[in-house]
């Protein structure tokens, strides 16, 4: 466990370990991207892991009393404090091991939250936890809205997406702000490891989680996780939609190791964002002109990313 897999850039989830720590039978919707991402994350972490889960879809679908989908120790406390709870657990273990109350062993301390629990209401707790330098892994699965409460917009909902609190209407294009750049915010804390991932690229995701576990200190992994229910797309398109996000350059797979950023997947020829947008009902109302506007922004951002990579 916790070794990176050699096979790269191939879509072979079969290469992943068979053991499940997030069991089937949870209450996720069909084709739930976050559930898939979480499965992969915990395959990479293995059994010596403790999870603090924020209130969210992932928490609700996995812990309906008296059942649980979790095979590793798991705690849910509240919506905005997964980072604080996880680092409290880490500190507790650190003290008890140092004082000889518990044997020394390597345990992965994980905080798991959605985009809302991470980038909006939980940003302060996350910042505090990263700044304090605990040895923990923060997993944000980004399904780009508050799905658990019925698809309300978050600070990470993309421009133009229609949600229940940023609805498209006669005088509204849906979400009117650009997506908050959480990986950059994490990186600004100068932690040893920051990465982005997507369950459409399971080996890349697996390897990044394994790396995060091996590195001492805080690690932040931001996973774009398509949600067919909230994105209004057929559930069999989860993987495809994730790939389109990456292939269009809208969501880039990279890692930042001790401040050094590199793409883990370089798209040879970016496909138009239109493919991605057209696949989802949340963007249905966008006009050709709107799509052009978004394409321009994606092009600009991608250019900036390439320049940034050349500089290092």
């Amino acid at each position: 466990m916790m070794e990176t897999l050699e096979i790269k850039r191939v879509f072979v989830p079969r290469a992943l370990p068979l053991r499940e720590y997030f069991s089937p039978g949870h209450r996720g919707c069909q084709g739930c991207g976050p559930a898939l991402a979480i499965r992969h994350v915990f395959k990479a972490l293995g059994p010596n892991t403790i999870v603090a889960n924020a209130t969210s879809c992932s928490e609700i679908i996995s812990s309906p009393y008296p059942q649980t989908a979790w095979k590793v120790p798991w705690i849910h406390v509240a919506f905005e404090n997964a980072a604080a709870v996880a680092t409290g657990i880490e500190a507790g273990y650190k003290a008890m091991m140092r004082k000889g109350k518990l044997p020394q062993e390597k345990i992965n301390f994980v905080a798991l939250a959605g985009d809302g629990g991470t980038g909006d209401i939980g940003l302060q707790a996350l910042s505090g936890a990263m700044e304090r330098g605990h040895d923990f892994i923060y997993i944000c699965y980004d399904n780009e809205a508050y799905m658990n409460t019925g698809i309300q917009r978050s600070g990470l909902t993309p421009f133009g997406a229609s949600t229940t609190t940023s609805p498209a209407g006669k005088v509204s294009k849906g979400q009117n702000t650009w997506k908050k750049d959480l990986p950059a915010i994490a990186a600004a804390h100068h932690i040893p490891y920051v990465a982005t991932a997507c369950p459409s690229y399971p080996i890349d995701l697996y390897n990044k989680v394994a790396k995060a576990a091996a590195i001492e200190g805080p690690a932040y992994i931001h996973i774009l996780a398509p949600c067919p229910t909230g994105w209004r797309c057929p559930s069999e398109l989860t993987i495809e939609v994730g790939r389109m996000a990456v292939e269009s350059g809208l969501f880039n797979l990279f890692e930042i190791v001790n401040g050094k950023k590199r793409l883990t997947l370089r798209v040879p020829q970016r496909r138009p964002v239109k493919d991605y947008l057209k696949a989802q009902g949340r963007f249905r109302h966008l006009t050709e002109e709107d799509i052009r506007f978004i394409q321009e922004k994606v092009d600009e951002d991608y250019q900036l990313l390439l320049e940034e990579l050349e500089e290092v």
Binding site: S63, P73, I75
Partner: protein, 391 residues
């Protein structure tokens, strides 16, 4: 051997927490709690206490870290006051629901607004229903003792509830008092290491904090309520053991010249010292007055308080908190509801006094008793009165 020293009460609290050998402290500064956490930081920095001191960015995270650490099986402490406590409020309820024996020291302080840093009990009263064992302290020795006892109570397997000890902000937290400190051996003999039955352990995975549907919630709440009520005899037993070992006995409600008294003053916290002097003065003048000190707020000692007021005609309750637009003083309201079903019960007169650090002097206690007696003989008892307010 016990050492008697002059100490600021906040420092006495930190010394006790050090002797309790906590594993994790997570706290955020706020007046008048700061001296407690500053001294604990020093204890850790100087190597007197081997603990992780988590320098959190807010009280919300302070208590969240404590919940995580306690769930991991660590002995855990935090301290706060006022705005800090209500920022923790969300997690207060959860710590209790998860049955985690976190210990908190609260230097009680007024809630904004208007902003004020001075003391009363509005912060602790705001958390009345959160399911924490809540203990009021009266003097420095009491704070030192309860800061150790709280761990023993909270961690007892018959208890397993977070426990809060309250000291009046400034009036108690910042005064220097003689305190008899205990040795490490003495504390260790009373307080065994925390050995949780359930904790977050990869070798024995479990799920904590699952969500429920309406078909389970009420059963779980009832269990929590019954469990908290059932801690009362255990708390008494532990206080009694402390008394037997160290000579200082504590009770949920303690009585002073209350036997056969017609009028009783009921108050919680450090101001009971002033009330006691007032009682002595009134006794000298031939008045049949006694004093009840409420030490245990949750679980509320219904039977003890009913027994204590049994023979009295009048109970004068002095609350340092106000339920705005409600029944006035929270302790008075609790007492009234506790007595309601008794056939023979004393009249209850509720005063709200001493808010935001305003003193209550000896003669003011006397005045409150006289006013209350006046209300009683006039046969007209107001719901409550704000005492000592300039008109």
């Amino acid at each position: 051997m016990a050492r008697r020293v002059g100490l600021e009460v906040s420092i006495a609290c930190s010394e006790a927490v050090t002797l309790a050998n906590v594993d994790v402290i997570a706290a955020y500064p706020i007046t008048p709690q700061t001296h407690i956490v500053e001294h604990l930081s020093e204890q850790v920095a100087e190597g007197h206490l081997d603990a992780e001191y988590i320098k959190v960015e807010s009280e919300h995270s302070a208590l969240s870290c404590c919940v995580g650490a306690s769930a991991a099986g660590a002995r855990t402490f935090t301290a706060t006051a006022s705005q800090g406590l209500i920022l923790m409020s969300e997690i207060m309820y959860i710590a209790s629901g998860l049955r985690l024996p976190v210990v908190m020291a609260l230097a009680t302080r007024t809630l904004s607004s208007p902003l004020t840093i001075w003391g009363d009990q509005s912060d602790v009263m705001s958390q009345r229903d959160c399911g924490w064992i809540t203990i009021f302290c009266e003097n420095g020795q009491d704070v030192f003792d309860q800061s150790i006892i709280a761990f023993r109570i909270a961690e007892d397997r018959r208890v397993l509830f977070p426990t809060m000890i309250c000291m009046d902000g400034f009036h108690l937290s910042h005064v220097i008092e003689p305190v008899e400190l205990l040795s490490q051996e003495e504390v260790d003999s009373f307080l065994p290491p925390y050995k949780p039955e359930y904790r977050l352990d990869p070798h024995r995975p479990l799920t904590m904090g699952a969500f429920t549907m309406p078909d389970y919630f009420m059963e779980i709440k009832k269990q929590q309520d019954e469990a908290l009520k059932s801690t009362l005899p255990v708390i008494k037993e532990i206080w009694n053991e402390w008394g037997n070992r160290f000579g200082r006995y504590y009770q949920p409600v303690s009585c002073y010249k209350a036997e056969g008294a017609e009028t009783l003053i009921l108050i919680a916290g450090g101001f009971s010292g002033t009330a006691q002097i007032a009682v002595d003065r009134m006794r000298e003048q031939g008045k049949n007055v006694g004093l009840l000190r409420l030490k245990l707020w949750r679980p509320f000692p219904h039977q003890e308080i009913r027994d204590a007021v049994k023979g009295a005609k009048l109970v004068v309750v002095v609350d340092r908190a106000l339920s705005v637009g409600g029944q006035g003083g929270p302790i008075a309201a609790e007492l009234r509801s506790s007595l309601y079903h008794l056939k023979k019960r004393p009249a209850v007169v509720s005063f709200v006094a001493g808010l935001s650090g305003r003193d209550i002097h000896i003669d003011q206690f006397v005045e409150m008793v006289e006013r209350a007696e006046g209300h009683l003989s006039a046969g007209k008892i107001p719901d409550y009165e704000m005492f000592g307010v300039r008109e």
